[in-house]
């Protein structure tokens, strides 16, 4: 599955960048996220509960950050296993661009799935991935809003 997208966040680039590297912000933003642990500056682990079509499972995964160019972007790569549901793995290149008071996040992702997810959910993966990305950014914006991180009222 390949996916590209762009999302405008009403917060300065530095604030967005920090939130993208912050455990609490990620936990609040990733749909179905139960746990995020920062193992090092470049390694996270997470537990996420997801439903893709008829396949529902808790995924345990590791994410590694590379090509870090703070605060302009990085590459995320990771894989997760969901027990009987199968597994998923993928890579996403994320770039941040300043646009006045706001930040535009652009991403290009390539992911593959295996097991029952592929067998039953394949047709639903593209639409599910788009939906999850949408939810992520909506949660992410809300998180920044609640913290007053967006706009001019920043600390």
């Amino acid at each position: 599955m390949d996916m590209t997208g762009e999302q405008r966040i009403a917060a300065p680039k530095q604030v967005v960048w920090e939130a993208l590297n912050d455990v609490e912000a990620l936990k609040a933003s990733i749909p179905g996220c139960e746990e995020v642990e920062k193992k090092s500056d470049t390694e996270f682990s997470a537990k996420v509960r997801l439903a893709i079509g008829p396949v529902k499972a808790r995924f345990t995964g590791e994410v590694t950050l590379s090509d870090i160019d703070a605060p302009n972007g990085y590459t995320l790569s990771g894989q997760g296993v969901g027990g009987v549901a199968g597994f998923g793995k993928g890579e996403a290149k994320v770039t941040l661009a300043e646009d006045g008071e706001e930040t535009v996040i652009s991403y290009t992702a390539h992911a593959t799935v295996g097991g029952k997810l592929a067998q039953i959910g394949q047709r639903l993966i593209d639409s599910t991935a788009k939906k999850l990305a949408g939810q992520f950014f909506s949660n992410f914006s809300d998180y920044l809003d609640e913290r007053g991180a967006s706009g001019k009222s920043g600390a």
């Binding site: 009987v84 097991g115 067998q119 039953i120």
Partner: protein, 785 residues
């Protein structure tokens, strides 16, 4: 006597005696059998298509609630459970034997396809087994997968088996290409085609399942599972788990909910289940769901063919060249590598006289489920190629395809093919004439004009085909009269839709003149099947089992004559048997009276054993002269919507020569079923693996296109019976013909419909999407020209 043989004898349209029970839910399938204290089993299946197993951590699963045992391939190896596969005696032209894979029920070294079972969990409940299965840690070092036969043959492709880096289990050739090259060099025209025969999954209505019951006192195991015959699985389980002691294993398939070839195989799942049951000394039950069945049942077809026919100036075939890559999947199964050679190879050139043949068949191993016998087993693939070629050749010659076929039909019988098979009889032109008449071919132009007026494209297509049927060279039947006059037929051929209870009863009723209703079929159980009795596959039950019934009946008649002579106080030599009566000059007695006397020592002549109970072991020599050759001609008429690519099947006319028709109702049903499966492959069915990841993408009915009622039309089935000379019933087999005729007839019809748009080539399945693309590619090419 005559009354019921007229009504219930051979050739009569007797309604199936099985149906009343099946239609009111009286069938007993594997999941209907439950036992006190049974435990439940779940499989952990590899989510990866290809990888090296680093670790399988079962500790957490073992500690989970209700778990009785967790077993991996290592546990089975420790207990000395050996290879699952049978060996195949095929060799390359230079004598190199086929590559033998070393399959264990659960692999210990690598996973080789997505869905391969790697561990089993047995627990008190099915949910506990599934929950615990999720706790197993499967650590696999992933390797790149090879998915298609051509990918597997590419230089540098990943090796499915380390010992065979080129992935080719066997490159089989009938000969060197020299003889073909010589005739091709002087040919007037050479017509070539490249075809892909799409992979399909057999879909029995009953999913894959098994219950291994253990008798707590004796330790004897009874395997309940849907099979087409029980002896081979009984033998395999006995060999692998019981030191070869067949008495320790019984197999029961009371009803089998569909077979299609895939239920004739010994699956690793069955061995693992039986192992777990024996190890735990508990009855173990497993019911696979539909997706699990699709990801693990042996698939069908999946070939890439490159073929050429060389013709002289009169359109007479000089030679045939065929190069095939078969995708046999991850493991060399019993028939996977034989299909295209021993199956399709029997009738490679179809109905045509082929003086010279070069056939090269590469059996490629890939990271997919193995392919094996599926209704037709190699013959649909072979007929498809040659029928597509004949259609293409007719266009290139500019002559009617019917005429080109007539010029090349085999007409002198017996005919020995280039593969050494002796085709005993047939009249291919007569079948074609019959089908042409039923299809009203002559008035097609008017119907086409009518479609055109409605903006639709109408096409008509024809396929002549022949198949080789008969299966293994022996079958054993027991016919036993009971004291009450009823008759039991004991058999090892398992009925899973063929109507054996009806047809065998007709054969026996006809032969012995006993009432149809008094005959029972005892089947589906290795304890009651005669020793050595085999099973149902390859259109063999009527011609093998049926003949064995006839011959067992002959022994009964001979013994009956002695008893009748004693009863009538006549000489045995003077007694004749006719229409159910033993007759002598002094009078006559019925078969039933003789049967009753047979159990009364006071009425038996001296020295004769009581009872009328005979078993006949029917064998053929197993060579190339004892097959039967069902054949026919099928014609399809279709309408294509050029805007959407949607195809509607309008009419289907089948003219079949399946030899003697034992029961026209049942044979009609077999033709209809075979045609539906053939149309399914041609129109909707396609099992797809992702080429990047090796994942099965069509693992449910949401993604896999089963044909539906709307995809079919009324099917006319006519018969041109020319009795087989290879068996005294004259039957040839009918179950697989539809699968041979339907795909080429259907595709030829669609090509005919799309001809005005310039479409020259199509590969199955002809989904609206594929047709739309074929139409538009042509249009864009046309526009730029």
């Amino acid at each position: 006597m005559e009354a019921f043989t007229e009504k219930f004898g051979v050739g009569q349209p007797v309604r199936r005696k099985e149906d009343q029970r099946l239609l009111i839910g009286g069938g007993r399938y594997t999941d209907d059998f439950n036992f006190e204290g049974q435990a439940y089993l779940a499989f952990l299946r590899s989510p990866y298509a290809h990888g090296r197993i680093s670790e399988i951590d079962t500790e957490a699963a073992k500690a989970a609630p209700g778990v009785l045992g967790v077993f991996t391939g290592a546990d089975m190896a420790t207990d000395g459970v050996g290879r699952v596969e049978t060996d195949i005696p095929l060799t390359a032209l230079d004598g190199t034997p086929i590559f033998k894979t070393q399959r264990l029920a659960l692999p210990t070294d690598k996973v080789r396809y997505a869905g391969e079972p790697v561990a089993v969990v047995v627990a008190e409940t099915a949910y506990q087994a599934r929950d615990a299965m999720e706790l197993i840690g499967l650590d696999v070092e992933q390797l790149p997968p090879v998915v298609t036969a051509l990918q597997a043959a590419t230089e540098g492709a990943a090796a499915v088996h380390d010992e065979k880096p080129d992935n080719c289990a066997l490159h089989w050739e009938n000969d060197t290409p020299d003889a073909y090259e010589a005739v091709a060099a002087k040919a007037h025209k050479i017509v070539t085609i490249e075809l892909t025969n799409n992979r399909v999954v057999p879909v029995p209505m009953e999913p894959k399942c098994c219950t291994a019951e253990i008798n707590q006192e004796t330790g004897r195991m009874t395997i309940y599972a849907p099979f087409q015959g029980g002896r081979r699985v009984q033998g395999a389980v006995a060999d692998l788990l019981f030191g070869g002691d067949g008495d320790k294993v019984r197999q029961i398939s009371d009803n089998t909910g569909g077979g299609f070839g895939t239920r004739s195989k010994i699956y690793p799942e069955i061995i693992a289940i039986c192992y777990a049951a024996k190890k735990l000394r508990r009855t173990v039950k497993w019911l696979g769901d539909r997706s699990e069945t699709m990801v693990s049942d042996l698939h069908g077809r999946d070939q890439v063919n490159s073929a050429a026919l060389a013709f002289d100036e009169n359109g007479k075939i000089l030679g045939y060249r065929l190069e095939t890559y078969v995708n046999i999947g991850a493991w060399v199964t019993e028939n996977g590598a034989r299909l295209a050679i021993d199956g399709g190879g029997r009738i490679l050139g179809g109905c045509y006289d082929i003086p010279v043949l070069y056939y090269s068949c590469r059996n490629m191993m890939t990271n997919t489920v193995s392919t094996d016998t599926y209704r037709g087993a190699g013959r649909p693939e072979a007929n498809y190629i040659v029928e597509r070629l004949m259609e293409k050749a007719a266009k290139e010659f500019g002559i009617d395809s019917r005429e080109l076929r007539r010029r090349n039909f085999i007409t002198d019988f017996p005919y020995t093919t280039q593969m050494g098979m002796k085709v005993d009889c047939g009249d291919f032109a007569a079948c074609m004439d019959m089908a042409l008449k039923d299809a009203d071919w002559e008035n097609f132009a008017a119907r086409r004009a009518d479609s055109e007026a409605r903006g639709k494209l109408r096409g008509i297509g024809l396929a002549s085909f022949v198949e080789g049927a008969g299966g293994r060279p022996e079958e054993i039947m027991r016919v036993r009269f009971e004291e009450d006059g009823s008759v039991n037929i004991y058999c090892g051929t398992y009925s899973h839709g063929q109507g054996h209870a009806t047809v065998y009863s007709q054969i026996l009723s006809d032969k012995l003149g006993v009432p149809f209703e008094s005959i029972n079929l005892i089947q589906g159980d290795t304890d009651t099947a005669p020793e050595g009795a085999s099973g149902t596959y390859g259109s063999r039950s009527s011609q093998m089992g049926g003949v064995a019934i006839i011959r067992a009946s002959d022994i009964i008649i001979e013994k009956g004559k002695k008893i009748a002579a004693h009863l009538l106080q006549a000489e045995a030599d003077d007694v004749t048997f006719e229409d159910g009566d033993f007759k002598a000059k002094v009078g006559s007695v019925t078969m039933q009276e003789v049967a009753r006397a047979a159990y009364d020592p006071a009425r038996l002549p001296d020295g004769l054993e009581p009872g009328l109970d005979e078993t006949y072991h029917y064998t053929r020599d197993g060579g190339r002269d004892d097959q039967s050759y069902p054949n026919g001609c099928h014609i399809c008429e279709v309408e294509v919507d050029p805007d959407t690519g949607d195809i509607e099947l309008l009419a289907y006319s089948a003219a079949d020569d399946c030899g003697t028709v034992l029961n026209p109702l049942i044979v009609h049903g077999q033709v209809h079923g075979g045609v539906a499966q053939g149309i399914g492959q041609a129109l909707t069915e396609h099992l797809v693996y992702d080429e990047e990841t090796g994942q099965l993408l069509t693992g449910s009915f949401m993604d896999y296109g089963m044909p539906r009622a709307k995809h079919l039309s009324d099917i006319k089935a006519a018969f041109n019976p020319i009795p087989s000379t290879n068996n005294e019933l004259g039957v040839k087999g009918a179950g697989e013909a539809g699968c041979c005729g339907a795909p080429p007839a259907f595709v030829n019809a669609v090509l005919n419909a799309l001809e005005p748009l310039g479409v020259k080539h199509l590969d199955m399945p002809l989904t609206p999407n594929n047709i739309w693309h074929a139409i538009h590619n042509t249009e864009s090419e046309g526009a730029s020209a």
